[in-house]
């Protein structure tokens, strides 16, 4: 009897610890989000989006230059990264699905997803920034694209593999060549999944800072010339947060708020789409 009582006590104790761990995880999430919300929301003003940076220490500056820079860098990264990722994923799931090279690339992509992003930054510095002799927006976009490609590639591969093989056979039976089957049948079946993968990949690069530090670098002025050093929200947050001025810290918080909202929004949207897709 005492043995059973002891086992019951141990059981309750261990399970309570598991609940406590879960509560701790939730606690950190709420703590961090509430903190970013609390600090950031007060400094979301029209000037933040409409003004460019004021000289250090002067009031009334905004982050328009960083918002525009971030959008441009992300746009070009998406332009390079998404088509390459989707096409590569198509090869892995279709033409190369039983080929050893396909399996190898698939595994390597998984590993590449976890390569520290700052290493990608040093790589782009070596192959792009150093040869042309200056930092540029294109280099930043290239670094983000390299980070994106394996992410999009693996989700595309997985989503395409979910399309039942019989559907392809039905199209083959009508005499359709393989590329038409992929373009008109497989892509249609996997579209929602691939789209979700793209959303999540954009969410992933939107918060990247380290690979931009020595590729697109930074800049206090508005520029739309991708061939120049280009400001981004994340690098600006880093610079402003580490800087000595209070209004810099305020703008860093505001920018953090915007970025967090954007990324969490995309992540939640992605999950909702996946759940909706599985239900139907």
């Amino acid at each position: 009897m005492t043995e059973i009582a002891k086992r019951k006590i141990v059981n309750t104790f261990a399970l309570s610890l598991a609940c406590a761990a879960a509560a701790l995880g939730l606690f950190w999430l709420i703590f961090i989000l509430a903190d970013v919300l609390r600090h950031g929301i007060a400094f979301i003003t029209p000037e933040l989006f409409l003004n460019e940076a004021a000289p250090p220490g002067m009031e009334g500056g905004g982050l328009k230059h960083a918002f525009i820079g971030q959008l441009l860098i992300t746009f070009f990264a998406v332009l390079i990264g998404i088509p390459l990722g989707i096409l590569g994923g198509t090869y892995l799931a279709e033409y190369g699905r039983h080929h050893w090279l396909g399996r190898l690339i698939s595994t390597l992509s998984d590993i590449m997803i976890s390569v520290p992003s700052i290493v990608i930054g040093t790589f782009v510095y070596a192959i792009f920034v150093k040869p042309i002799g200056h930092f540029s927006g294109y280099a930043g976009a290239l670094a983000l694209a390299i980070i994106m490609i394996p992410v999009v590639l693996r989700t595309t591969e997985e989503m395409i593999a979910l399309v039942p093989w019989e559907i392809r056979e039905a199209a083959f039976a009508l005499g359709a060549p393989y590329y038409k089957v992929i373009l008109q049948v497989v892509y249609r079946g996997a579209a929602t999944g691939i789209f979700t993968g793209i959303l999540l990949a954009i969410a992933r690069i939107a918060g990247e800072t380290a690979p931009l530090l020595f590729t697109s670098f930074n800049n206090m002025f508005l520029t739309t010339n991708m061939n120049e050093p280009m400001p981004s929200l994340t690098v600006t947050i880093y610079q402003y947060a580490m800087g000595p001025y209070d209004d810099w810290h305020e703008m860093a918080w505001a920018a953090s708020f915007v970025i967090t909202l954007f990324i969490l929004g995309l992540t939640i949207l992605g999950r909702i789409i996946i759940r909706w897709k599985y239900k139907h």
């Binding site: 086992r7 141990v10 399970l15 610890l17 598991a18 609940c19 761990a21 879960a22 701790l24 995880g25 999430l29 961090i32 989000l33 903190d35 970013v36 088509p83 390459l84 990722g85 096409l87 590569g88 994923g89 198509t90 090869y91 396909g102 190898l104 690339i105 595994t107 390597l108 590993i111 976890s114 390569v115 520290p116 700052i118 290493v119 990608i120 930054g121 040093t122 790589f123 070596a126 490609i149 394996p150 590639l153 060549p177 393989y178 590329y179 918060g207 800072t209 380290a210 020595f214 670098f217 994340t234 947050i237 880093y238 918080w253 970025i259 967090t260 990324i263 969490l264 992540t267 939640i268």
Partner: protein, 311 residues
Amino acid sequence: MASTIKREQTLDKLFSTITFSAAFLVLAIIVSIFASLFKESLTAIETFGFFGFISSTAWDPVREVFGAATTLYGTLVTTLLALAMAIPVSLGIAIFLTELCPKFLKPIFSTAIELLAAIPSIIYGMWGLFTFAPLMVEYVEPLLQDLFGPIPIIGQLFTGVPLGIDILTTSIILSIMITPFIASIVRDTFNLTPVQLKESAYGIGATRWEVIKDVIIPYSKAGIFGSVIIAMGRALGETMAVAFVLGNKHAIATSLFDASATITVTLANEFTEADSDLYLSALFYLALILLGMNFLLLAIAKTFLARKKKV
């Protein structure tokens, strides 16, 4: 008719070549990352060698003497401390999610854990610098100092003026960042445990905890191990969160309240300031070492997770 078939065949060949090139690009990128980092570090490799470089604690840009020991030490210490804190919590979360959580709460809770993983590292850094580090200075670190300071040997770990910008703060933030990665992979492997195994344990009168401890966890060993290695890779390569709260000090720290430097923080802070070829080359060398460690860890994790899937 024949010409149509011919055209379609050509187009198909074209499309398959295009997709193959895109996939092959990944392989090409990986090879060129290794090759270009190696090429850029060549000057430093020739000057310091490998063992000479990783065992030297020197980091003196003025005299141009560089060694990786301090940054490697900082990287490994923060990573291992973060893992030590994250593993028990993540296992607890995984147990809660698979065995205890009421069904209607599951999707909400899973999403919450995933959001924790989605928060970008720069936000962890901001929060760490402006909110968490001050809390550590005010409450946690003096308390730890009072508790453990007087104990011999262990007390050494808690010496120094608590400034909040130190190894302890960094490790805690890193542990929060890697917890969701371990938790979600372990949850998935827990879910793979066959119901029959669990039920036969319940059938002979095991408590819920005994089923978890003696059936589910042993069954998921490979998955747990794989997830820990993946998390370790993440912690090694984490840059921004660490850059905010570790202080970038090149020295072998003996107290949890000392500032330190990791490979990533050194790269982030010094890369654009490196004014000599050897300095820049030494930084590339650090990046190469980090890449090598990361690749090796991930390859190990992949073999373990792949074995799990086969069984």
